[in-house]
Symmetry: D2
Subunit: 338 residues, 4 copies
């Protein structure tokens, strides 16, 4: 059995997922593409042998013979596209974030539920071999009860000013730390009670001009009592740096590293190695695995591994943490996602 999939959004991230759709997912057929950018659309179609291409995703949803869609459009359009896809009876994989508001998440979730279609959200870390291995250790009881969560998400480049605006990305904390917030809920097995953030626009003043910051630390109090801290930065100029720790009552797991290529250069009194260039290099296997998991869930009629509710919960933490930064006080999740 093969799941026929249409890709909505043929930009950079879309191209990354398209590659995996075409080559890494056994039971999927990559059959159609929708993107208003004709060049991107046609180039991708040629590259992956896709016959059907559309300017508009509505066309794809109406005309294309697809069972499911992979949505990689700009964040601000996610809810509309998801609702349209659901109305068309298509199963949906949507890149993170599902929406920048809790209401948007709720709308998308409701649409998928009403239509009886699967809705999976792209928190790819849950499929990264290192995160998966850590989760398995935790579930096996190797570290006892998790009591502290630490997570670092740092980019080696400044995001675009257009994207940095709150309206486009949700701002630094929501945009970047949402992966850590989701990982926190998943690895700690607990929702978050409240968040408190400190941050600043410390390196790139132009980000401040569009209302964003470039560094933040977010304290978390989990509903189960555990504590957590997430830091995000746009100026890890040494390289892409994703690391997570879970400290438990009987041990700990540490995920992530700094080295891309297993080669050391030794010169006078010094040993040096390279760093990880970016998320494509770090999470290639995870992007393939999340798509495989989505296809399997649809074909085998099982629950998707990362739900709309997961997206809503992580988004809510990001909103609370952002509001905390704005108001310099701890913000309870109950305030933003009742």
């Amino acid at each position: 059995m093969t799941l026929r999939i249409g890709l909505i959004g043929a930009g950079r991230m879309g191209a990354a997922l398209a590659h995996h759709l075409a080559y890494s997912v056994e039971n999927a057929a990559f059959v159609s593409i929708a993107d208003p950018n004709e060049e991107n659309r046609l180039q991708m179609a040629r590259r992956f042998g896709v016959d059907q291409t559309y300017c508009d995703h509505e066309q794809l949803l109406e005309e294309s013979d697809v069972d499911a869609v992979v949505v990689v459009t700009p964040t601000s359009t996610h809810v509309d596209v998801v609702c349209a896809a659901a109305a068309a009876g298509k199963h949906i994989f949507v890149e993170k974030p599902l929406a920048l508001t809790v209401a948007g998440c709720d709308q998308a979730i409701a649409a998928a539920e009403a239509a009886g279609v699967k809705l999976q959200v792209g928190f790819m870390r849950r499929f990264d071999p290192a995160y998966v291995a850590a989760k398995e250790k935790i579930d096996a009881g190797v570290i006892g009860r998790p009591v502290m969560f630490k997570s670092t998400g740092r980019d080696p480049w400044r995001t675009s000013l257009k994207y940095a605006r709150r309206e486009a990305s949700g701002g630094l904390i929501l945009d970047m730390a949402i992966h850590d917030f989701d990982a926190g809920r998943w690895l700690m097995g607990s929702d978050v009670l409240r968040a408190y953030s400190e941050g600043g626009c410390l390196v790139f003043p132009e980000l401040g001009e569009v209302g964003d910051i470039d560094n933040a630390v977010v304290n978390l109090k989990f509903a189960g009592g555990a504590v957590g801290n997430v830091d995000v930065s746009r100026n890890a100029i040494y390289g892409y740096d994703i690391r997570t720790e879970v400290i438990g009552s009987e041990g700990s797991v540490m995920i992530g590293g700094l080295q891309q290529t297993a080669m050391l250069t030794l010169t006078k009194n010094s040993v040096a190695h390279d760093t990880i260039p970016g998320f494509m290099a770090r999470f290639a296997a995870a992007y393939a695995a999340e798509l495989r998991a989505f296809v399997d869930a649809v074909l085998e009629e099982r629950d998707v591994p990362v739900t709309g509710r997961d997206a809503r919960a992580a988004t809510a933490i990001g909103i609370a943490a952002t509001q905390s930064f704005d108001e310099q006080r701890p913000v309870y999740l109950s305030e933003v996602a009742p």
Copy 2:
């Protein structure tokens, strides 16, 4: 020229410093010991060939022919002993913390200033080769402007219940994170504006019964705008874990590691190594170096490298962070140390 030194306090930490006083500090003579515990006192005297021993530190201050004292008594007595030593005209090295209150720090500082004696406080990390190397890189501009501070301080054992009480140790945050707070001020080159803590008694319920917690995360906002986070835990059962990062506009430094012995054991599908057993193993060189620096500062009539004011500032952060935990709000340093 040789500095004659008396040791006040012959307990476990006193013995560690005594060893360095006797063997690692070129221009010091270890000439007297005061401790109410006769066995500790006499055993130490025998071991290091010290002739003068006293039950009471007042006797040592009066009778002993010493130029300086190293104070390693219980924290609650630090201020009294420091003031007495200052009144007796002795230069003073005192183990951290100088006091558990800002007022206590002020009293000790005033006493030393009034007497014209040196007062150095035992933040030994400032003398650890790894911290020193990081500080040198930062001062040399290698990482640009520091914008984020991250520091981890985790013990592999639960402290004694007697010591865990707020009256004795100041509680988890003040007791353990004070080293990180001092490192933060020193490495970031900035005072702290406010602190916000989350914590909990999550592993050792008996700590809760005496009013302490076992895990905490503390967000810091530095006066210069930078952000920071410190985590402390009493249940790093894997080993003693001290790590610090400073992220700058042009690079980063990372201090600390997990391995004590340079030996890997490789068995089926697994590579394993040991961990650092405790602070004696981790910071032996630093304890020696801080005493050498103290002796040199006195003999060469230079400023001590870690002052009473440094101790006051770090203590104040600890108090603010503790109050933040109690009151679930960010606490400004100006509130606790006007």
Copy 3:
């Protein structure tokens, strides 16, 4: 322009290369398969959408509309298949080793030259990002003149007894260390003058019964004066272990590591991580890259990056090192490959 490629040999290694042919090589079309095993052949054809399949490689060479072949047949057949492919005017990529004898190598090289077709041999390490990065450092002069070569090649499993026989694989030293010998020539920029081996059947007595050993160390003297040592083992039960060092007059490079998944598990006094399971995991990127390089060389009419002469030279070192083990004396390359 697209190179039409036929795969000869659909076994385990053939399947690995087939995957890359189908998905990782931009300008290649994977158009036909030959393998006497019908099940393997048809399964692979289905999986990668290949229309033409043949039982016999001669059929493929005659009937198939291919420009080039990838030869992954049993080693003992390599020379015959290469000669047939050359006679049919096909460009050839052949898995290592080209042949188990110098005469076999010479025959294959002569056939390709006579036919004017490209002949590339599968020393994939030359395309591994870590080896490539090291080579670039060496070529850039970062380590000065290379003076010592060290290389480790260890498998976590015993090879099959059928394959272990000298007739099938050349025996441990030729079979496994040939990669190290090629890396040595390539990284050191020098041929080898003589080899001296010690070895033994120390763990798997059944290997001894078919005439093989399971551990060996091989000293090399390079023609340019440098020294080298290669060790190979079939009982690295901890994991697949490939590491190489080049020590130069001004520095050194170290290639390879032990960890597959970037995750540490910390339990009481111990830190542990996993190992690399095997060559597929370690060298996936290299297998793709060597095929891309072959296709590019053919399409752009450039020299292939790893030639038949490279294969001959590495094979000769393996033969000399094996003879040295047999005769307990240093064997000169001039003795075995005049």
Copy 4:
């Protein structure tokens, strides 16, 4: 009970051991010093509070009230000094190598046995925490039967030309690899059957002018069947590099590392750390521990942990390996140490 010790030889290495004698060995009294260099002798006496000093070691042996001597004189004098000390009834700790010839070793061993005094030789690696931990794993059966031994000994500097001469040091292989040879016998639990060396004077032509080389690899065949390889270099300009591996039938141990200070510097696309500056930094704890073990063995009338026979065996391997280099053939230990 206290062992009164005299130090014979107050040069650089003597000073290192003197420090440990004075400060790190509980039951020893460092009571006298002999060295023809008056300045070294008196400076050391002042520093460590030693009352008796002598120009000539014979005086020390006659006049001094010592139970044991630590011999750190030039290698060429070791046998004479050891024999004199034995004749005077003193227990003896002598720096490696005991002698540069097997006959010299035999003479020293015989003298000590005839006098009934202890004779321990300074193979300090046996007391290094990492080597000790590896030995414990091996002895506990964690890696099964040891089948391969690999050891690297590299200095970051060229030795003096005076010392490089064969008459003074035995040449590169004997001088440097003797530590690895001893470690091999100890960790593998087996004597060596034969050795084969390749080497060259590749970086420092001036070493060639005095008859020495700067790089060598030595293959070993152990009497029990296992294989080994040792490499030594005088141009590891990146740093002092001592690493050892033992591969067993069920696992492996790896000893040693490259980093001295636990600090990483991260700049654009690069992570760097320092290296180990030299043997004093690497083996400080081992030097202290070997002296403690000597003192304990004497006081408790137990066998010393590293005997004259151990020294003889390691020396013989070094001589065989050197002869192999000279004659380009494997040399059996039975040829040089019947």
